[in-house]
């Protein structure tokens, strides 16, 4: 109840604070811009803004980061519709029906439908933050070292499975690589320097931000710059939008909206599995349930609705485990988690005790970000699309400089820039070899949590591992890991093979 009260209070206080509204407005616009530009992901947008908001108090910085996150996930739909290239990976499913709609002269309608559906998806996400996060927070208080240790492994494995559905083995390898590399630096129990080789810079471990910017930013920049062929831009607004009713579209898609929103939220809650997976799963569900499945892929409004509702609802879902378990539900949520640490907010099971207002405040900010996103989306969308006319060759080096500067200002040391570059090359190597980045990053984040809790669990019971199998939550997680792994390798029934 307290969370609901804070939720409404935060909306009211934000709306009456012009300075905060100004910061949130430009953050949302930045988010939409980042999302619109192919190659710039929401993760990178949140990472760059994290460095810019160092000096801001957390009650301004955190809502700003939410704005850029929500704006970027939405902004990617612009490019997906007019360029057939998802602005962010979250909008890959949007291209399937968005681009055919644009080609048929309905670019304006498709863009606006995507805006409205993204807004509804975000609101669904906010509702779930308010309702689900306190419950999950209460459950998380029952977690001991055993549960946290297994949760870290569970998160990495499930992220590996879902982000590399064609070859989950690569997803798991990426996840364990992340866990392994996270071991660099002083360990948290006996302060032993691991893999530091006497280098004082490595004693504190590798910072998350250079890794994230490297793994997500550099491969995108390199891929965009090396591309010789250019994409086709469709800015055909020939069919009048007035003939098509948005309200009618919402009514027709009410069930689809609800289903896609719920799918988005629950996929978001799963550690490391981001908006791209949510959009595809919702799209697939919409196609299966549709009365007109033949229209999917040829410009179906239902398909566009499912993808755009789910990816924005997923943002809300991804934030829930950040707040309650300190486990990010997606890559941009991981940066958000790091930003919260930077601002002195220790997310996790103790958050509702240390900062009881935080869940309601985040949900309230989420609603404001959504309102701004819809308003700017409907008003300035076409203006933003002009940015697509700027050549990649000019844009990408600028983005690289922003990545370098953003990484440097974190601690004011060039070492972090080299780390960013090194992880950028690793990220590129992983990308060309089809290893997903998400489980790697999640493993890197969860590594210290796994390390400390595995050893603490062993120390508490003098090496006895049976509590891992006898404690109910731990057992459920172990069974889930086993099922996830087995489901990928058990022989499928005839006809189920794709």
């Amino acid at each position: 109840m307290y969370t609901v009260k804070v939720f409404f209070e935060s909306i009211a206080s934000t709306l009456s604070n012009p300075v905060l509204l100004f910061h949130l407005s430009w953050s949302t616009l930045l988010g939409i811009l980042v999302g619109t530009l192919p190659g710039l992901t929401a993760t990178l947008g949140v990472a760059i803004l994290t460095t810019l908001t160092f000096g801001f108090p957390p009650e301004i910085a955190i809502p700003m980061l939410l704005c850029v996150y929500i704006g970027a996930i939405y902004g990617g739909s612009r490019t997906a519709i007019v360029l057939n290239i998802p602005g962010t990976p979250a909008n890959a499913a949007t291209t399937v029906d968005g681009f055919p709609l644009a080609r048929s002269g309905m670019a304006g309608f498709a863009l606006n439908v995507a805006t409205i559906m993204s807004g509804i998806g975000s609101i669904v996400g906010a509702i779930f933050i308010v309702s689900l996060a306190p419950a999950l927070g209460a459950l998380a208080l029952k977690f001991g070292s055993w549960e946290f240790a297994i949760l870290a492994i569970f998160g990495t494995i499930i992220a590996g499975s879902l982000t590399a559905p064609k070859d989950p083995l690569k997803g798991w390898i990426a996840g364990f690589l992340g866990l392994m590399i996270a071991m660099i630096g002083l360990d948290e129990i006996v302060s032993f320097p691991r893999y530091t080789f006497g280098n004082i810079q490595l004693y504190g471990g590798i910072s998350l931000l250079p890794v994230l910017v490297g793994v997500y930013g550099v491969p995108e920049i390199l891929t965009s710059l090396k591309r010789v062929t250019k994409a086709e831009v469709v800015l055909d607004f020939s069919k009048s939008e007035r003939k098509l009713s948005y309200l009618e579209t919402i009514k027709k898609n009410a069930l689809n909206l609800l289903r896609s929103g719920i799918i988005g939220v629950f996929i978001g809650v799963i550690p490391g599995v981001g908006e791209d997976v949510a959009a595809w799963v919702a799209y697939d569900a919409a196609k299966r349930m549709s009365k007109e499945p033949e229209k999917f892929g040829k410009g179906s409004i239902e398909g566009l609705t499912a993808a755009e509702t789910a990816n924005n609802a997923c943002v809300g879902g991804a934030i829930i485990p950040v707040l309650t378990l300190a486990v990010p539900g997606s890559a941009p949520a991981a940066v958000l988690l790091a930003a919260m640490w930077i601002h002195g907010i220790k997310a996790g099971p103790l958050l509702p005790i240390q900062h009881p207002e935080m869940i309601g405040y985040v949900a309230g900010s989420f609603v404001i970000a959504t309102i701004l996103m819809v308003v700017f989306g409907l008003l300035v969308t076409r203006l933003f699309l002009k940015i697509l006319l700027v050549p990649t060759e000019i844009l990408m080096p600028i983005i690289f400089v922003l990545c370098v500067v953003g990484t440097y200002v974190l601690n004011g040391r060039l070492f972090d820039v080299w780390v960013m570059l090194l992880f950028g090359l690793l990220g590129y190597f992983m990308r060309i070899n089809d290893f997903p980045a998400a489980p790697f990053v999640l493993g890197f984040i969860l590594g210290p949590m796994a390390d400390t809790n595995i050893r603490r669990a062993l120390m508490l019971k003098n090496g006895d591992i049976s509590p891992f199998f006898t404690r109910p939550i731990s057992l459920v997680l172990i069974i889930a890991i086993t099922l996830v792994v087995l489901s990928k390798y058990l022989p499928k029934k005839r006809g189920e093979k794709r």
């Binding site: 810019l52 691991r194 400089v401 200002v409 570059l421 190597f429 070899n433 590594g447 003098n462």
Partner: protein, 146 residues
Amino acid sequence: MKDRISALVFIALGIFFLIGALRMPRVTEYGKYGAPGIVPAFFSIMVILLCFIMLVRKQRASYEGSSVPVEVKRAENRRLLLASAMFLAYVFLLGKINFIVLTSIFLSVTSMVFLRKRFILTVAISVAVTVGIYYLFSHVFLLPLP
């Protein structure tokens, strides 16, 4: 083939981490279960094991690359190497040359090399963007620049 190469690379990395873990102290003031090498050893063994499975499994057919003409692929690789070299040079020179000078040159040269047209406009944009970034970080957000 691609999978085998990446499996071998990651196995080598796993072995490196495993050796490091095995050389860490086995007993600490918290007993043997507080040893710092336990978890890194576990993770590196998992990496080695999973990569070994990838190495010995039936190789999957590679679909990519077949539709891309050799000349395009060669041009792409050239652009990739060029971009990587320029990025490395920029990071290497950071802190050694004034930020505004270095970044203006980097942006101008990179854009010119890849775009190959509108040189004056490119230089103007590069200088303007550099000054913009400089003022945004050091004067608006009061953050240090290299």
